[in-house]
């Protein structure tokens, strides 16, 4: 702070608190609704304070699911989401870290072409190639499987670029010293490069975990079998009940449960998260 202006400081705090309240309000109200019983939501009153059906609603949705819309128990969906998020994050990191290694540390024919091909994935989000991708997955028999949910998502230009960028900052002498010490390419990668990349891997993991968890269109396409639903897409099945209102307290309980894991990851690993976010955009 350059100068002391109590009024301005007070105003800043006030603005931040209002901003935070605005941002938190929808989640608070979702939580409130998730603890009501069905009848309370038809009473013509807007509930602002949690009701008394927290345990009842949540245990019902977690372990039984919502029969009306054919949604399986949310616990299953959470497990699916977890599997998907972890596989996507680990898969993306694994294939990116090795392909970046090849691109930076080796000279080989088509190196440039491969780099540009990886770059092109940035330009082809799933939203613009929905139908043919669906056909590929169907032909490969990957519908309704964890493989179908995860493998097609693990190609990643962003992660490859991040590692490439990071490798470029490692002084050349590091590889030279390793070569003098007698280390070949694989030992150098495992003994030197991988340990040096630890923070980057962790930061990337946070970002990619969220990316994987929050996938929506992809699981929507790949899963028709409810036992492969993920939370984020499963909620759509609960919202889109033909000719009737969604069962709000169940939908909101699902929404709350669906956001808790990634929010916990972001909040507890805030530093890594911010680092990952900023680095991946470089």
């Amino acid at each position: 702070m350059v100068e002391n202006r109590p009024l301005l400081t007070f105003f800043s705090h006030l603005a931040l608190i209002i901003g935070i309240s605005f941002i938190a309000l929808p989640v608070w109200l979702a939580f409130v609704v998730s603890t009501q019983e069905a009848s309370a939501l038809f009473s013509g009153q807007v509930p602002l304070w949690p009701g008394e059906h927290f345990i009842e609603n949540y245990s019902s949705i977690l372990f039984e699911g919502e029969k009306n819309s054919g949604a399986p128990p949310i616990l299953l969906m959470i497990t699916n989401s977890l599997v998907m998020a972890i596989c996507v994050a680990v898969g993306k990191i694994t294939i990116s870290i090795i392909s970046a290694y090849a691109i930076v540390y080796f000279q080989f024919p088509f190196r440039q072409a491969i780099f540009w091909m990886i770059f092109m994935t940035l330009m082809l989000p799933v939203e613009v190639r929905i139908l043919p991708t669906f056909e590929v997955i169907a032909q490969l028999g990957m519908l309704n499987s964890y493989a179908g949910l995860t493998i097609p998502l693990i190609a990643s230009a962003t992660a490859t670029f991040l590692f490439r960028q990071f490798y470029m900052t490692i002084p050349d002498e590091m590889i030279e010293a390793a070569r003098m010490d007698g280390a070949g390419p694989i030992r150098f990668f495992i003994d030197i490069l991988l340990p040096l990349s630890r923070t980057n891997i962790a930061a990337l993991f946070v970002i990619l975990f969220i990316f994987g968890w929050n996938q929506y269109l992809w699981p929507l396409l790949v899963t028709t079998d409810a036992s492969y639903y993920t939370v984020v897409m499963g909620i759509q099945r609960m919202m889109a009940v033909p000719d009737s209102d969604p069962i709000w307290h169940y939908v909101m309980a699902t929404a709350i449960l669906g956001m808790i894991p990634p929010v916990i990851v972001v909040v507890t690993m805030q530093k890594l998260f911010v680092k990952g976010l900023i680095e991946t955009e470089k």
Binding site: M174, E176, A177, R179, M180, D181, G182, A183
Partner: protein, 354 residues
């Protein structure tokens, strides 16, 4: 305990740039060789070719009697100390030194023994558990040397290892490197751009210029009988003075038109006369070889440097005198050259005249 032989060694980069034009040399067992030259002269390239970090375009490189042109750096049985030390940041000092031995599948006991021996020699035993980031510049330098000596290699390679240290530490480490190499009797090749380092460390030194060795020899040989104007100007500080001299039937003259009091090699119309600042003395006008006018005086304590201008010459002549200068700025003074220490060069080829 090894020899290194370079036979017409050449390096041409993919873009066509020829960095090394063909070097022949025999490095004797236990010898300390310093490669010195300005930046871009190819000295680092040459060292890296010996290390195996740069491919050899042509010629032969032998360590002992083995041709190693195609041998991986790790299998040449050499060790290298890098300019920025290149310590592995995530490993402790111990692991940094042990890494090369681990890769060579030495037993844990042998590794421990070797590392401890090296740590004793370099007095870094107390630092073994630390990470490189917790060390000072001088300590890192020692660890880098430790990493080289644990392997007990045939040849040590040093790539400007002292240039990241401050002046005082540099002098201290320079002496230590010399002592260490004497004690271990390992052949060493050392690259630097600092001629003082080169002079003080080398058994023999190679002065490189434009990808070619200008001269190879002991420091005093190079100082006393530089083969080219380049070597003459590079070795010795302050650098040798050069005075263009014209020779005709009447005799030799300075650019000022003054006649020389001594003879110059015959058969050349123009000759470059070289004289070191320490080989010029101030004298009385009747004994003068040349008269100068003081432009700047630099007192260095033990010595003083007097920069004097001379009619017809673009650059000032530098004169080194003991103690304080006896002349004042703007004053005119007479100097005499030490006749035993005159050097003559051909101004067209820049090489020494006999």
């Amino acid at each position: 305990m090894s020899t290194v032989t370079l036979k017409d060694l050449k390096k041409t980069y993919a873009n066509g740039f020829q960095a090394i034009h063909g070097i022949d040399m025999e490095i004797r067992d236990g010898e300390f060789i310093v490669i010195v030259g300005p930046s871009g002269c190819g000295k680092s390239t040459l060292l890296r070719m010996i290390a195996g970090l740069e491919t050899i375009t042509d010629g032969e490189l032998m360590i002992d009697d083995r041709r190693v042109n195609q041998v991986e750096p790790g299998k040449r049985d050499i060790a290298m100390v890098f300019q920025n030390y290149a310590l592995y940041p995530h490993m402790s000092v111990y692991d940094n030194m042990a890494y090369g031995l681990k890769i060579r599948k030495k037993s844990t006991e042998e590794i421990a023994q070797q590392v401890n021996r090296a740590a004793d020699i370099l007095e870094i035993g107390a630092l073994l558990d630390r990470k490189p980031s917790q060390l000072s510049g001088g300590q890192r330098q020692r660890v880098a040397m430790g990493r080289a000596i644990v392997r007990d290699p045939k040849v040590f390679l040093f790539d400007e290892p002292l240039s990241n240290l401050d002046a005082k530490l540099r002098v201290q480490m320079r002496i230590e490197i010399r002592k260490l190499q004497r004690a271990l009797k390992t052949t060493a090749i050392y690259v630097t751009h600092d001629q003082v380092e080169a002079m003080t460390l080398a058994d023999r030194l190679i002065v490189m210029n434009g990808g070619l060795p200008e001269q190879i020899g002991s420091p005093m040989e190079l100082y006393d009988r530089p083969a080219t104007t380049f070597v003459a100007g590079f070795i010795g500080s302050p650098a040798m003075n050069f005075i263009p001299v014209r020779v005709d039937k009447k005799g030799a003259t300075f650019p000022s038109g003054q006649n020389l009091n001594f003879s110059v090699p015959s058969g050349h119309e123009n000759v470059l006369l070289g004289i070191r600042p320490e080989d010029i003395e101030i004298t009385t006008p009747d004994l003068a070889d040349l008269t100068l006018k003081v432009s700047v005086i630099e007192p260095l304590g033990a010595d003083s440097l007097i920069y004097g201008s001379c009619e017809g010459m673009k650059e000032d002549l530098v004169v080194r005198v003991r103690d304080k200068a006896t002349v004042q700025e703007e004053e005119t003074f007479s100097v005499r050259f030490n006749q035993q220490k005159l050097h003559y060069f051909d101004p067209t080829t820049n090489s020494r005249l006999p």
